[in-house]
């Protein structure tokens, strides 16, 4: 084949394409680097999801599990953040709990990245930023902002119609990559199915009594600032909501529909002994009416478009005039989590005692960065201080 004029232009364009592919690929691969967490000194052990279902070993969703066990026995709670990686307050609330909690009785299990694969990409056609930063006492700490779904690089192709098993419920094909439509999961299914199955196994094996799945939703979605509960957990949920309302935090009770399958608040309750709760806050960046889509919208949650829609009254919009800052969304999640645990304790034998969790007004006043440790050094310092305190309490001079 002779080298022609069009081969020269093709070669130049190919070189340019290779450069674009390299630069874009490098940006995309940055999202594959896992986040670093600094668990509180109460951490007793770490595990991975494949400990409960070996079929997940070596997959992107073999996510880390953190165990906090109190000195006294008591019930076990499970907390999931990051089921949907484009709902940052849910994941950030789980991280703050993970990095601050102290457990004196019972046990807390935290999965801050329930669908790790979702953190390796963003949703197509949305123009989402890949990262956002939170100001802490020692500078900016960066977090990934991912996709609602499992990354198609890890699970591909989508079927035309997603048939949920065992219910037979049919949804759009892309929902096959939605962890919160996959429960109770299948050991021989897709990566998302296997992840759902492993979480169900974790709940069963660890005998979880109360389980939380933290979420966010667009301001125009009806279930906002709400706790969705399985019918068997109704009394706990209503007690917790009453306590939240008494503190001036509005929260709606939403009973899990019995015929809507694949969701944590339905299937965890139907297939395990756990009392499941799913919590929602208002997140403007997920909405269809949002304008400029940037990191400010994630952190400050100020959207003039939503303010206009809210003022028009044409739609039911859950949006405060001063925006929906991440502080308030995280504070809601942490406070609701604490209130549900307290309600569980008041209605059941055995106590799950969690301390050192930030209070609602403190998070609003000081910001979420105040509750994110500066790094392993600070975490170790805390551990050392605790060790010394324990030694002192034990009577050693």
């Amino acid at each position: 084949m002779r080298f022609k004029k069009n081969h020269l232009s093709a070669s130049i364009i190919l070189l340019a394409s290779a450069a674009v592919s390299f630069l874009a690929g490098r940006e995309f691969l940055l999202m594959h680097e896992p986040d670093v967490f600094y668990p509180s000194p109460s951490l007793t052990r770490e595990g991975v999801l494949s400990d409960y279902f070996p079929g997940l070993k070596g997959t992107p969703n073999d996510t880390k599990i953190y165990f906090f066990e109190g000195a006294e026995s008591g019930p076990t709670a499970l907390l999931l953040g990051g089921t949907h990686a484009n709902e940052p307050a849910s994941a950030l609330a789980a991280v703050i709990i993970l990095e601050n909690v102290a457990v004196s009785a019972g046990r807390l299990i935290v999965l801050p990245r329930a669908n790790e694969s979702g953190y390796t990409c963003t949703d197509p056609m949305e123009g989402y930023p890949q990262f956002f930063s939170i100001k802490t006492r020692c500078g900016e700490r960066r977090f990934r902002f991912g996709s609602r779904m499992t990354n198609p690089v890890h699970q591909w192709p989508d079927p035309l119609v997603y048939s949920h098993r065992p219910s037979g419920q049919q949804l759009s094909g892309f929902e096959t990559r939605n962890l919160n439509r996959s429960y109770p999961g299948r050991p021989d299914g897709s990566l998302t199915d296997k992840t759902g199955y492993a979480i169900m196994e974790l709940i069963r094996v660890e005998n979880v009594a109360v389980a939380f799945d933290l979420h966010e939703a667009a301001p125009e979605i009806p279930i906002i600032n709400a706790i969705v509960y399985h019918e068997k957990a109704e009394e706990i949920a209503l007690n917790a909501i009453f306590e939240l309302e008494m503190e001036g935090i509005n929260c709606s009770p939403e009973r899990s529909p019995e015929n809507f399958h694949g969701l944590s608040h339905r299937e965890w309750g139907d297939y395990t002994g756990a009392n499941p709760f799913l919590m929602e806050t208002s997140n403007p960046i997920q909405g269809r009416l949002r304008g400029k889509t940037d990191t400010d919208l994630i952190v400050k949650g100020i959207s003039p478009e939503y303010l206009k829609a809210f003022k028009s009254g044409a739609l039911k919009i859950t949006y405060e005039p001063d925006g929906e800052p991440i502080e308030r969304r995280v504070a809601r999640h942490i406070t609701a989590f604490r209130k549900v645990v307290e309600a569980y304790n008041s209605l059941n034998d055995g106590q799950l005692t969690l301390t050192n969790l930030p209070e609602y007004p403190d998070i609003l006043e000081k910001g979420v960065g105040e509750y994110l440790p500066c790094g392993r050094q600070e975490s170790n310092d805390k551990k050392q201080t605790r060790k010394q305190n324990n030694t002192f309490k034990g009577g050693t001079p």
Binding site: N6, L14, V20, F28, C121, V153, Q155, W156, P157
Partner: protein, 48 residues
């Protein structure tokens, strides 16, 4: 299994696009082909 079949299809499409680009005489069409090629190569490499 289906996953690897689709990766193979994407790889095949990438090769066909490359051949088509070398045959094409109009540079503007070559640019259009390159824009599709970038996407399919990134998928074959399992980057995006």
């Amino acid at each position: 299994m289906l996953y690897w079949i689709y990766i193979a299809i994407a790889a095949f499409i990438s090769i066909m696009l490359l051949i088509e680009m070398l045959r094409e005489k109009d540079w503007r069409t070559q640019v259009a082909i390159a824009m599709i090629l970038i996407v399919s190569v990134l998928r074959v490499l399992r980057i995006k």
